[in-house]
Symmetry: C2
């Protein structure tokens, strides 16, 4: 058989297997798979350079199925390359199978690098991969298959703009323009010219192609590979292509065929096949750089803003060649610029595009980078869906959010993170850290470099006093009892800025003969439940103080920890920001919010009388 015949036969097999697997499952997206069968057939047969037996090799090209609902197509290809068995294919969407409804990277699904299914995320991730390959001098490429509906997601255009600006030439995106979305026609239908005009305006090379003409597809891929810039292959396709009653028909989105319908469809497609292909082998790349040595953490003897300590520690960590940083155009506020100064080739300016920033970090960590992404904590809310998906991707992602709480002062509430702890706690497997001085920040940032999963550090805009010696240790899940006595009548639990306010409150209370314990709860998730439990049982009154809304932050974390330890007995009072703040000085705003030393002491007095 000639190449064209081979590609078409494989495409037919992929279509058939997409139907078989989704019909076996009783759900899934066969028609969205059929539209891209030819696109994938040619890609994996002759363009995607990957070692199926060694899917994690850095030398491989990468494939990102951004239209994750077309998972039957992906799994059908994995069968065709011998990665999974037919039996596994038919376990699609069943409990315990790695052949999940949308692709997820799992130990038994190593050919998937990142979870997809929330649309518009694949391209930012693919861009991160492309940049990581370039950093390592690898000749590999990234291929990203997108649906047409998802091009309305802004994150796609964040990635488009950043990709051309950063001059990547190893990123090829394919849009499967099947013109039908979930509930009817897409915004642009088959208007390929508009897709192309947008891509060109965003600095990409655009190629229009009939997405069911395999020879034309092959040509398009060749052209894209040599474009010298990021390339978008815009493929006109039919949803449900190749089956008379599915092709370009509305009402078939996300529906599996019945057994009878499947039988008819498979017959139209020429029946089942057992074609095996081997994608081209990757070029050998350079050996990865040796681990760096000599990370020397900064040491603080004076007051410093924890955001600055973060930046300086990040710069110190850059002695490790795998450490990279990405920022959203505020590097002189988050102090990622400190890394940029010592390792400019491992700093990526992501501009004001937080979703793409997180997506890039996820892509980079697939290729072994220890990626830190930073912006104002308030603006990480912009990328919550990406953080959520990073957890499903089992990504090791390090986030830094600066300018926490009302303590930023005059800029006002739009710049104040007051929900970030709630947001980050509710991420599966996350670690949430909130240090209060320079030395604890340095130790915790250094730990983040080796933490699995999504970790988050919250930093403060203002300088805060040094509280700890340089040799103090800050294990994740620990806390520091900064002050205690046998006479403590209350335990003040703070984190970050409120540790300092709590200490000052304890001073004021001590002068009145009220002994107060102060706990620095720098690790909010996991949290030091035992120390909190002891504090409640010894004092009978735990007061949590946080520069955050009352919901989902430190107070809720403390209550959860106390409840987890068995029978509750005693009083737990949350002090948090309850009214919408405005502008003011940090001191004024903390006082208004009730989290200043004076207001904390006042609250304790009220509780103890």
């Amino acid at each position: 058989m000639d190449r064209v015949g081979g590609w078409n036969e494989l495409a037919a097999q992929l279509a058939v297997d997409s139907i078989r697997s989704s019909t076996a499952a009783g759900s899934g997206h066969p028609t969205s798979s059929l539209s891209a069968a030819h696109l994938l057939s040619v890609l994996w047969s002759d363009h995607l350079r990957t070692d199926v037996a060694d899917p994690k090799s850095l030398a491989n090209d990468r494939f990102v199925l951004s239209k994750g609902h077309a998972s039957p197509l992906m799994y059908s290809m994995l069968r065709a390359v011998g990665a999974i068995t037919d039996e596994q294919l038919l376990s699609f969407r069943t409990m315990g199978s790695p052949v999940q409804g949308h692709p997820v990277p799992l130990p038994d699904m190593p050919w998937v690098d990142v979870a997809t299914g929330s649309l518009g995320q694949g391209l930012p991730v693919a861009l991160g991969m492309a940049l990581a390959m370039r950093m390592d001098g690898l000749p590999a490429r990234v291929w990203c298959l997108m649906g047409d509906s998802e091009t309305t997601e802004g994150s796609v255009w964040e990635a488009m703009a950043n990709a051309s600006h950063h001059g990547v030439d190893n990123l090829i995106a394919i849009v499967d323009v099947n013109r039908l979305g979930q509930r009817g026609p897409t915004m642009l239908g088959w208007d390929l010219d508009t897709y192309a005009a947008r891509a060109v305006a965003f600095g990409w090379h655009a190629i229009q192609v009939d997405g069911h003409d395999v020879a034309a597809i092959d040509d398009a891929y060749l052209e894209a590979e040599g474009a010298g810039r990021p390339a978008l292959v815009i493929a006109r396709t039919e949803k449900g292509h190749g089956v008379s009653f599915l092709a370009d028909a509305e009402g078939w989105h996300g529906k599996a065929l019945s057994a009878e319908e499947a039988e008819r469809a498979i017959a139209e497609l020429g029946g089942e096949r057992a074609i095996r292909i081997s994608p081209p082998k990757p070029e050998t790349g350079p050996a990865p750089g040796a681990d760096g040595t000599g990370v020397v953490l900064p040491v603080y003897t004076d007051a410093i803003a924890t955001r600055k300590a973060f930046g300086e520690t990040l710069a110190a960590l850059a002695a490790r060649p795998d450490v990279v940083a990405i920022d959203a155009e505020v590097s002189n506020s988050t102090y990622t610029e400190d890394l940029q100064k010592v390792a400019p080739d491992r700093f990526v300016e992501g501009y004001i595009a937080e979703q793409n920033m997180i997506g890039m970090a996820v892509g980079m960590q697939v290729l072994g980078k220890v990626a830190f992404a930073a912006t104002f904590a308030a603006f990480l809310t912009r990328a919550y869906d990406f953080v959520r998906m990073a957890a499903i991707s089992r990504a090791d992602l390090r986030l830094s959010g600066s300018h926490a709480g009302v303590s930023i002062g005059e800029d006002g509430p739009s710049q104040m993170a007051l929900e970030d702890l709630a947001m980050m706690r509710a991420v599966h497997g996350s670690t949430v850290l909130y240090p209060c001085d320079g030395n604890s920040t340095a130790k915790l940032v250094a730990r983040m470099a080796d933490l699995p999963g999504v970790s988050y550090i919250r930093t403060t805009r203002e300088k805060t006093a040094r509280l700890y010696d340089v040799d103090a240790e800050f294990p994740v899940g620990g806390s520091v009892v900064v002050r205690s006595s046998a006479e403590d009548r209350v335990a003040l639990v703070g984190a970050g800025i409120t540790v300092h306010e709590s200490l000052a409150a304890a001073d004021a209370l001590a002068a009145e003969g009220i002994a107060a314990r102060v706990i620095d709860c720098y690790s909010i998730k996991p949290i030091d439940a035992a120390t909190l439990r002891t504090a409640l049982s010894q004092t009978g009154l735990v007061v949590t103080v946080e520069d955050h809304w009352p919901e989902g932050g430190l107070g809720d974390a403390v209550l959860e920890a106390l409840a987890s330890q068995g029978e509750l007995s005693g009083r737990v009072v949350k002090i948090a920001v309850t009214a919408m703040p405005g502008s003011g000085t940090p001191e004024e705003l903390r006082d208004r919010a009730g989290i200043s030393a004076g207001r904390i002491a006042e609250a304790v007095r009220g509780l103890l009388t």
Copy 2:
């Protein structure tokens, strides 16, 4: 003085006042204000049709300062139109002043419609306003001033695509291309052609202009007004224009001038002025439609999915002419299509662009619309920054998130909302609802139409049994004790799907002689603390059960409520989803997560032995 001279004089006054106010405050963004002084001068003098004395009039054109950090410019204009005094202007950024660091709509700042300061949000909001005006047949226009840095935000391109697709001709955006961002040059610098090419590719009319040539600006605005489509005025400007040591200089972002520097700058600008202008008056529009009557809520006697009950109730509410709905291309999943069927002119298809969807809803409510926005609850995470800013905008925003939790089944974790309760609880002033049957859903959705602030309803994909009669009432902040007795040894607290699982668990436990109370906590914020407190004191054991991560959801809300009532005594155990789910049937996944009836009963047995 001729028109040109007048515009230039006013621009100079705005520049001077931007410097005066920020220098008085000791912080703020004078240079980002100076770049747009001419643009604003011409706009408010001769194009923005607004009644300063009646800023909330529906007849007014709207102005949205998307680059909210240029607030000194906005406030300087408010002084020039007589809206605020010079003394108020100089109270910029001080505690208690409505002249906040970034614009915020307040009772004493009625000329600001929405909070800005998180970049990239103004255009989606402006689009919502433009659509609302069109729905009401008003001849008004919306003007949106953007910074150049913020055009890298994807949300801008979501709005660009939607605006042209929906054919609005009353939306004019202005980009202040001063080429300098916070930390240095912007991505595109002064490449106005690329801005224009992108705008044109997205279906807009693009006009390039020298942003300091007032006559050219006037021409550009005239051209934009007659473009017959959304228009983008792309203005080449200088940051810090008009002051020798600020103009086009790096290192001046977000810095106030010292008193001495301000004196020099003001001298260069020709000194202080006291020009007063009156913007053109708005055209009189049609009287707003009378309130609709005859909302007849649906009545359920059988099982129904709460998402479907939401859609049917929304359709019933459409009898009110102010009710509108927006969806993100999943209207046949969220059932906003039910409203679309009865009121197609009040349904907006927002395509897959959640940020723009929320922004549009915020813009629409400024003009009096009761806007409901809906998508899968998991994908509302995409728009968290917009929801956060909506709260700062004091917006009345109604959100519906469908497909909650592992109960969606086979699609897998990318489509499962497991953090939405945490996210929505941590929004200032929010209301969080999670009904378990059709009749309670109908009542709660109807209440949402009249709730202030951000309200959120979480709905379930599967059908759930009818639990309540049609005449039952469900006040916000209430709960229903579905089952109780004097012998209860445990109180099971559920919401949504877990109410049904808890009831079945109680049945199983009853058969073993263990009496269990079951509480339907349909209002998660505010929450019925008194009922929960009674349950804990009477049973000594409260078990919360939720289809959500353990953090920030129902369990945390219950703990907070119990702690708020004083001394804690007893045991509170949270059951929630702790392991990353995969595909499976809803029943399998609930069982695996520990939130099935069987697993709940098992947990209770373990706790009581």
